[in-house]
């Protein structure tokens, strides 16, 4: 299916958030995730299903004021 990851289109075979992270190379990365604007806790990634056209945000620590 086709989903947006951090604003860019990606074709993936995974059907849940945890699978998508692994497929995108972030399986072990320390990240925080949101799907379609709602927070997905790390513990819920494996049970959060993806649908075509979903927007996945994968965030990490950055400098801030």
């Amino acid at each position: 299916m086709q989903i947006d990851v951090n604003g860019a289109p990606h074709a993936i075979t995974a059907t849940d958030v945890a699978g998508a992270l692994a497929e995108l190379g972030w399986g072990e990365a320390r990240v925080a995730t949101a799907l379609n604007g709602s927070f997905v806790p790390a513990a819920a990634r494996a049970t959060t299903a993806l649908a075509n056209g979903d927007r996945l945000e994968v965030l990490t620590a950055m400098q801030g004021g």
């Binding site: 320390r30 925080a32 620590a61 400098q63 801030g64």
Partner: protein, 253 residues
Amino acid sequence: MRDFYGVTLQTPMMLGTARYPSPAVMEAAFMGSGASVATVSLRRERGAGQAFWDMVRGLGVHLLPNTAGCHSAREAVTTAQMAREYFQTDWIKLEVIGNADTLQPDPFGLVEAAEVLCADGFKVFPYTTEDQVLAARLVDAGCRVLMPWGAPIGSGMGLNNIHGLRTLRAAFPEVAMVIDAGLGLPSHAAQAMEMGFDAILLNTAVAEADDPAAMARAFAMAAQAGALAATSGPMGTRDMAVPSTPLIGKAWL
């Protein structure tokens, strides 16, 4: 001394982590100033997150994640939830921006987000204005710290509304308050602390100085001087001169 959700800070200085010429310079600014809180953010993963996370953890200070750049309560709440998991803290510097040019808070979105986050167990540090009614709504929502701006973010103008800030400080004697944003010089920090504020939060004035580590130290010293003055009972002002040297015993020459 007022605390920050039960935490007493070693120094009344919170320092941002952005806009430094290099990570080493940022570290030097923290080491030189003894700042006790570092503000951080969450952004899209591009490969540098882990290294930055390792570095800020190594600073040994409290982390205060922000919701910078959020323009709605919904965005800010989601960002706060993500930040709590990532940074392993329930502290959140809540920013809901209402105008892209002035970066002033959207008071309506700010209260809405504060209500949701406080109810969800967050310890909210709202970036707000000196507006006393807005402050009351934030306190009603559960905020026990307020962070009124001195001046617009990054402007370096100092305390734009002394009267409003003084009124705000007096109106909520139990609430810890941090002057957040707009500080440009150490004298601004001293002034804020002399007025009874509990800490300062700054970034640009340090990060964009020619020597950030030295400027960070200057701000820390000024903030500590102001804090000491605030608890030392400053004298009142007078319209006319009063000689400090006694007149009694003056020679007749």
